[in-house]
Subunit: 321 residues, 2 copies
């Protein structure tokens, strides 16, 4: 972490927050490798798919939960409404800490994922099909039972946790020129961009978003927080109709560019990781590679492979071609 | 590595050799995690499939090559005849060291693997279909050109390198009772069993071998080195017709039991890792899990997931069911 200067940001997250998160989350999140790609020149792959929960979400979730005073988290427990990687991360951290976690899932959740979360001792509540229905259900439970809500992205402590990923990239790939990061709600890229720009301002941070779920892209283009009508993409982990205000303001301030990619490009990147690199990535995890592949290259790049929790159905699609 | 006592073994490998290998190979091999399994109780997965070359072979290959005096390895280069993970590991280490590597491959080698090895700057020679033909070809080249031959398993320095895997297991899973390890030529289990028994003699080490390639099992049963007539298994990385004398003597001395598993059991274990744990393993890498699944459990177990370099064809088989 040599060379990092602490500096306050507008959005309430500082380099110091990221640095202290890195110490806090040891023993929860894994220090993932940045491996040189075999299939592309001048590219390293930051393998968040190697985390114990197979996604970067463990960084933010562990930072957030560890910042709740022990007595409070033990008495109240935590709740979240994410059906995906964030829910799994919250269940995992809660299991290690021995606290109660409630995860509200869609009633269409696949059996493997339900069992995985339940194997971590979390209480699961199946409700509705849409994220907003689940969020309302979680809020209703919270009001009755008093748990602490763990936001998936729009929270400075979540952003600080995700930012620890950049500390490792900048240490392990000191000659990096460009970092490609997938965008859903914007938690990961906010943390990475803030950490990178406050310490290595010459390094470019490029966001990658699916064409079918370009809510951050549209907000960034228009210069204001924008809700998109529909979000439809194979990269389910990046499907968000409206970015958070905190993550949007950090992206606006620190991100150099946002690249849109199609579902076909995302599937093809997932396939390249599987066949050429022997790495399992979910489409959201391969999206940054798709962005790299359609961008002009100048010098060394790092692509964040953000997760590996691919479903059987999507994996079959990847294999099929 | 607290609690390890150095003690000489019959086969010319000591705990001290493993301890010093662990220091030597830093920067080449990665310290892989041992993650708790989600799909089984009391089981941790030692993920050698997370190595930069996606297999444990990097441990032995880097230890061996780093023990060749720099001037000698730079002048002469190295050669090997393994088409698989060992060849890839030798190419990778040679690339990092900037020395010449020659890898003799079957003329039926798949294009992805050929490109991978070539992307590391290694010279590839395509020759024959059988391992013994390739070994003879490599020996012929070596006699003409003077490279140093890097054995895949029957070499004390390779065994010491593979043994570093046990140091990490014993440190990260201090309550382990049984370690399950796949057996091909026996390099990995020799190193792991020696390290384990000389430091934690109460921990059991169980070898797992495919029914169709039970050369170590038969040698161990008969009490003498045995060549099997035919080796036929989906776990191509474990296909060896005759164990080495060094690895055989270490297995005889330190391994508690050897379990045989069928190709169906291996495929099913590969499928379980993919679907339930979201981990990509090649059949050889999933074999130890297959052994665990058919064994009686007493207390905490560790299964070594030795590699993830699965071919498209086999992956399609895993998905198909």
């Amino acid at each position: 972490m040599t060379g990092l200067q602490t500096q306050d940001s507008e959005a309430g997250v500082t380099l110091h927050d990221i640095d202290s998160a890195a110490i806090r989350i040891r023993g929860y999140a894994f220090r993932t490798p940045a491996y040189r790609a075999y299939s592309e020149r001048d590219l390293s792959l930051k393998l968040e798919s190697f985390q114990p929960v197979r996604s970067f979400k463990i960084r933010g979730a562990s930072n957030k939960i560890l910042l709740i005073p022990p007595k409070e988290r033990e008495e109240r427990g935590v709740i979240t409404a994410s059906s995906g990687n964030h829910g799994l991360a919250v269940a995992y951290v809660s299991n290690l800490l021995g606290i109660k976690a409630t995860i509200v899932l869609p009633d269409t959740v696949i059996k493997d994922k339900l069992e995985w979360i339940q194997s971590l001792g979390a209480r699961t509540v199946l409700y509705g099909k849409q994220q907003d229905e689940r969020a309302r259900k979680a809020e209703e439970i919270r009001q009755n039972e008093g748990q602490i809500f763990v936001q998936p992205f729009n929270d400075p402590e979540i952003v600080a946790g995700q930012g620890t990923c950049a500390l490792e990239i900048l240490e392990d790939v000191p000659d990096v020129r460009t970092i490609f990061v997938p965008i859903g709600g914007g938690g990961l890229i906010s943390g990475i961009a803030l950490c990178t720009k406050l310490s290595h301002k010459e390094v470019k941070v490029i966001g990658v978003q699916p064409e079918g779920s370009a809510s951050m892209y549209e907000s960034w283009e228009k210069g204001e927080l924008t809700t998109i009508k529909e979000s439809k993409t194979i990269a389910d982990g990046l499907s968000v109709r409206r970015p958070g205000d905190i993550t949007y303001s950090l992206v606006k301030r620190y991100v150099d560019d946002i690249v849109l990619v199609s579902d076909d490009e995302i599937l093809s990147a997932t396939r390249q990781l599987l066949r050429k690199e022997h790495l399992l990535a979910e489409p959201s995890g391969a999206a940054a590679l798709a962005g790299f592949l359609k961008s002009k290259k100048t010098g060394k790049s790092v692509v964040v492979v953000s997760g590996g929790n691919i479903s059987r159905e999507v994996l079959a699609k990847v294999i099929a071609d």
